[in-house]
């Protein structure tokens, strides 16, 4: 094997141009893969993280829009053909009964990290003559902090300020900017039902996601109950954070059975977002694989040409005692060396490109608050890249190398 390697090395070095061209094919493929995968998964992870920080693992709520059996069907079960057109939901309150008991029960569950009761309301923020659409979420701010790490997203003020304030809110920075309001200012809100109230901004927060920062404010549960003019037990949602996010799906089904309220896991809630990231992954891999296949064909061609030019050498080697496998190894090693060096070079260039991309200023606008593109430098993809490169070159090199091993020396020697 060592001898085969020495011979392979001499062959590679004696034809530097050919070797470099073959290598660059692989390098280009791998570099593209690394850059694309870095950017794509970087974006995926970034948005996923943002979404995850704003969606609970499981959300329990009273789904009053769930399709239900009509009275007709209930009373005439299985008798003849029953048709009920356009049935509407029953007028029910979205209230969860015993929400606080359920929440404290959940808080004792060993799988649960935190469970926060919540009720939220649509409101209009009055900004002079203009009314801005938004929501107010009534929460137990300390429990909410356990779920979404609010403490680190507070820009001004403090979480505790909310606890001691009767009519305080912590407002999204985007919304505050739109209202031209600062901590300490008062804003007037109006509910869709027409109830008007003055609230005091005790702090601002930034999640980094426009969809939240531009519309949302946190308040105490009692404040929102007052806004909605509901009783002290009125709560519409329970948000749950689990210790293991991957357990969300089965746990949601279990909770739904247990409490007989709708329990929705984060995967279902973010289905569209997850599909997007799957499509981005498919794109990345198909482009990279295409590039690598092209590089593979390049290696295949160059190796075939090399072998054709080296027929005489192969004949001599076999005449002096090299077996088919020895000759095959010589050429297989050449393609693997091309693959290895090409891939490593590809990783380095890919890393460089990724780094450049990560430095380019990028304005996320109102949608997401970032200054540069998020790029993923996960070593996992670098390992995948090099394995990709080696496997492709091994495949591309195998056939020509095997044929080289099968060359009959006497044909060539006699042909001279």
């Amino acid at each position: 094997m060592n001898l085969a390697y020495q011979i392979a090395k001499t062959h590679l070095i004696s034809k530097p141009k050919q070797t470099i061209v073959a290598m660059l094919g692989v390098t280009f493929g791998i570099a593209m893969f690394i850059t694309m995968v870095g950017l794509m998964t970087g974006l995926n992870n970034f948005t996923e993280e943002l979404t995850m920080t704003s969606t609970p693992d499981i959300r329990i709520y009273h789904d009053i829009t769930e399709p239900r059996q009509s009275i007709l069907e209930e009373t005439n079960q299985g008798k003849g053909l029953l048709v009920v057109h356009h049935q509407k939901p029953k007028s029910e309150t979205p209230k969860i009964r015993n929400a606080f008991q359920i929440a404290s029960l959940l808080q004792q569950d060993p799988m649960v990290l935190g469970a926060a009761p919540l009720l939220s309301s649509q409101v209009f923020y009055n900004y002079g003559p203009v009314q801005l659409n938004g929501t107010i979420a009534g929460v137990d701010i300390m429990e909410e902090d356990k779920l979404f790490d609010l403490r680190h997203k507070i820009k001004t003020g403090q979480l505790e300020d909310l606890l001691v304030s009767q009519d305080g809110i912590i407002m999204g920075t985007g919304l505050a900017r739109k209202l031209n309001a600062q901590t300490g200012d008062r804003v007037v809100i109006t509910t869709p039902e027409g109830y008007t109230m003055t609230l005091k901004i005790v702090g601002t927060f930034q999640m980094g996601l426009g969809a939240i920062d531009n519309v949302k404010a946190y308040a105490n549960i009692s404040t929102v109950q007052k806004i909605l003019q509901k009783d002290q037990n009125y709560v519409t949602d329970i948000n749950i954070k689990l210790k293991d996010i991957n357990a969300a799906k089965p746990k949601a089904a279990e909770l739904q059975r247990l409490f007989r309220y709708k329990a929705e896991d984060w995967e279902t809630a973010n289905a569209t977002f997850l599909t997007g990231s799957i499509i981005r992954n498919i794109l990345t891999y198909s482009v990279s694989i295409t590039l690598l296949i092209v590089a593979g064909f390049g290696i295949y061609n160059i190796l075939n040409m090399t072998i054709y030019n080296k027929m005489k050498d192969i004949a001599i080697l076999k005449a002096t005692g090299f077996a088919a496998a020895d000759v095959r190894n010589i050429f297989l090693i050449q393609s693997l060396v091309i693959g290895l060096i090409g891939s490593v070079l590809g990783l380095v260039i890919g890393f460089g490109l990724s780094y450049l991309v990560s430095q380019v200023p990028f304005n996320g606008g109102d949608f997401i608050s970032i200054d540069t593109l998020p790029v993923n430098f996960d070593p996992k993809y670098y390992i995948i890249g090099i394995v990709f490169g080696l496997v492709t070159t091994a495949f591309a090199g195998y056939l020509p190398s095997r044929n080289a091993g099968k060359v009959d020396p006497i044909e060539i020697i006699r042909g001279q």
Binding site: L3, T10, I316, G321, A324
Partner: protein
């Protein structure tokens, strides 16, 4: 004396461009330490016979035995191993690996055999080159040597594994009389002192006359086999 090579009823055909029998009932027996010359007109089948007995060409009828091993019917890879260890071959057209240095060309069959460490192989290869007086070109690429120099390197390569049989297809064809004499003396010494066997095709009557035995071919047959005049 011990027999190192025996062929029985070797027949060989070529089918292209038209069917044609090149070798006809070749029965040859060569003893250990013999220096044998194969002579005959151009095109009578000398090279073809040499390719058969060197085990490179396996497409024939009859049997071939060497060192009491039946080689007919063996697999290509086994034959490659056998050649590596027991046969040294000097081609009619000196075949060297052009990208490798002269020294590397000589070393490669020995490195393949793996009987000696690379360091020793290098020393031995240099020795052989010295015997053939091409050692000062040891580090040059093989393609940068003259025809006669290349032929001497090819001879050095054939000797490197101390094979029991050395076969040459006009090994002195490109050499001046001085170097031809050097090669002859080496062959002579190898047979006398080390018991190695030499089979060479030659068109040089003097070279043949000085060997031990002359086998003459004509039209694919062995027509005579007799001790050389001088010995």
């Amino acid at each position: 004396m011990e027999t190192v090579l025996r062929t029985t009823n070797l027949n060989k055909y070529f089918y292209e461009p038209q069917p044609f029998q090149v070798l006809k009932d070749i029965n040859l027996e060569v003893r250990k330490g013999e220096f044998l010359s194969l002579v005959g007109k151009s095109g009578c089948g000398k090279s073809t016979l040499l390719y058969l007995i060197s085990t490179m060409d396996t497409d024939y009828e009859g049997t071939l035995e060497m060192n009491n091993t039946l080689l007919t019917g063996k697999k290509q890879n086994e034959l490659a191993r056998f050649r590596n260890e027991h046969i040294g071959f000097v081609f009619q057209f000196h075949f060297l690996l052009p990208e490798f240095t002269v020294l590397q060309n000589v070393m490669i069959p020995a490195l393949k055999l793996g009987r000696y460490k690379p360091q020793e192989v290098e020393e031995r290869a240099y020795e052989k080159l010295k015997i053939l007086d091409v050692h000062e070109h040891a580090t040059k690429p093989a393609s940068k040597l003259s025809g006669g120099q290349q032929q001497r390197v090819a001879i050095a390569r054939a000797l490197i594994n101390d094979p029991s049989i050395i076969m040459g297809d006009e090994p002195t064809g490109n050499l001046d009389s001085y170097n031809a004499q050097v090669v002859f003396d080496i062959f002579r010494q190898l047979t006398r002192e080390f018991g190695q066997t030499i089979i060479t095709v030659t068109h040089d009557p003097e070279f043949a006359a000085n060997s031990d035995r002359i086998v003459e071919m004509s039209d694919g047959r062995i027509i005579s086999s007799h001790p050389a005049l001088i010995s």
